[in-house]
């Protein structure tokens, strides 16, 4: 047991209970269903914009060529144009692959002692972080996009299409959506990795566990509502459409579990800009990924250099020419003939 994950776990439980009891006991539907979601979305957008503008206005470091391939060199040496690009096209491809396929995680290695007599420390490729991250991020994306059915009426056909593909296995009634199950499984895997891999436990802080528990809580309440306890979906859509059209209403017959789900989502949104989750915006600004390695081909002048007051040799000689000649020192320009 470790405080670093017990405290976030307790916090998520408490947040769940606050919303659940607040609705079931105190009848605070208007707060958890209307006020807090609006506050959260404002906090999310304002915080996100503030953070990114802060990054945008800070100094861009000199191009850091931490690359994974041969840089542009002599014509007969083959360049790795994606891993070590010298053009903006190459950088664009590298960024696209980083954002959509997480290539940095693909290169993840682990250090371990050999399980034989030699007992040597060796590094090996560890692909499961990459697989877990891909499963997590893509299923989360699909889940978020699927929720557009609660904010649009009529629902656009692209969302219907997505639901069709997501529900293609037609298991049970209501039919299972693969993305929800994969999301929960992947989040649990990423959590297990932090808890059971001692080297990862060592570098994990409460701020690493909290978003994981929060997302697990959101996925669990969502799945519980859809597959187990069941909710009045028309009532819920009345509420969400009310939020989207700025005419909020509180429907009858919707229980605390829905408000707890909504509250956890609102907490995630409000917490987002202050947390590590800002890598969503930050990945675009990764200095080692988004700059071409052309430091030898192009001169990069420090943009905030001030004008240094210089005194060149010519100026020096102009100043002291007569004295230099008197002292017998050689001069570049002879003394002007005075008329």
């Amino acid at each position: 047991m470790n405080q670093k994950y017990l405290i976030p776990l307790t916090a998520v439980f408490l947040l769940f209970l606050i919303a659940y009891t607040g609705v079931e006991g105190a009848g605070l539907q208007w707060f958890f269903g209307i006020v807090f979601p609006y506050v959260a979305i404002i906090a999310f957008l304002a915080g996100f914009v503030y953070k990114v503008l802060g990054w945008a206005s800070s100094a861009v470091p000199f191009r850091i060529p931490t690359t994974c391939g041969q840089q542009k060199s002599l014509p007969w040496i083959k360049q790795n144009t994606i891993d070590n690009p010298d053009t903006s096209t190459g950088v664009f491809v590298r960024m696209i692959l980083e954002i959509f396929l997480f290539r940095s995680l693909f290169r993840n290695t682990k250090a371990a002692f050999n399980r034989n007599v030699s007992n040597r420390l060796s590094y090996s490729w560890e692909i499961f972080l990459w697989i877990g991250a891909l499963a997590f991020h893509y299923s989360f994306l699909v889940v978020v996009l699927r929720h557009f059915r609660f904010f649009t009426s009529p629902v656009p056909s692209c969302i219907t299409m997505l639901e069709y593909i997501d529900g293609i296995v037609q298991l049970g009634l209501p039919g299972i959506f693969l993305s929800g199950v994969v999301l929960l499984a992947a989040a649990l895997f990423l959590l297990a990795r932090r808890i059971f891999d001692t080297k990862v436990t060592y570098i994990s802080q409460a701020a690493d566990y909290f978003p994981l528990f929060l997302i697990i809580g959101i996925a669990a309440t969502g799945l519980a509502m859809r597959y187990f306890t069941k909710v009045d979906i028309i009532g819920i859509k009345t509420l969400t459409m009310g939020l989207a059209t700025f005419s909020p209403t509180i429907p009858e017959g919707v229980g605390g579990l829905f408000y707890a789900h909504l509250f956890l989502v609102s907490i995630l949104f409000a917490y987002f800009p202050a947390s590590k989750l800002m890598h969503m915006g930050g990945i675009f600004l990764s200095p080692t990924r988004n700059m071409a390695n052309n430091t030898r081909a192009k001169r990069h002048v420090n943009p905030w250099n001030y004008d240094v007051k210089t005194h060149t040799y010519e100026e020096y000689e102009d100043h002291f020419r007569e004295k230099m000649i008197e002292a017998g020192l050689p001069v570049d320009k002879p003394l002007d003939k005075k008329e």
Binding site: F48, W55, F151, T152, S153, T160, E163, V231, M241, G253
Partner: protein, 131 residues
């Protein structure tokens, strides 16, 4: 990274996050369907489950009914209110559609609104549609 790219990206992101709001402003938003009891259901006033439970749970109930009929040949459902119902979606007077006569209003209006596409009708037919 170039500042103008960052601002462009940020504007796109903010617009994407706010899409539920502006999407409903630029398109005609359909109001929530008003469930109404028609025909026989209007006079009978007794259903298999209580109203909100029925709204939330009817799909599970139908799933259980399907298993019960197909696997155990048990077609009678004794409801909590004491009435007995025929476990059937569309066959006979005592089935779901036997009482709630208008499929478009009883099933489709809410399903379309919530973007639910149940596969009931891949096997069952709406009795009204049979000539």
């Amino acid at each position: 990274m170039n500042k103008s790219y960052i601002i462009t990206g940020l504007v796109i992101f903010v617009l994407a996050v706010l899409s539920p709001f502006w999407f409903n402003m630029i398109t005609d938003t359909q109001a929530a369907p008003e469930p109404e009891l028609l025909g026989k259901a209007k006079t009978e006033k007794k259903c298999v489950l209580e109203k909100y439970e029925m709204r939330a749970n009817h799909m599970s109930l139908l799933d259980e009914w399907r298993d019960s009929v197909v696997r155990n040949a048990d077609r009678q459902y004794k409801a909590a209110n004491g009435h007995s119902f025929n476990m059937s979606l569309s066959t006979g007077e005592n089935s779901c559609l036997g009482c709630h006569e208008d499929k478009a209003k009883f099933c489709d209006s809410c399903h379309t609104y919530a973007s639910v596409d149940p596969y009931c009708w891949e096997c069952h037919t709406n009795p009204k549609e049979i000539e």
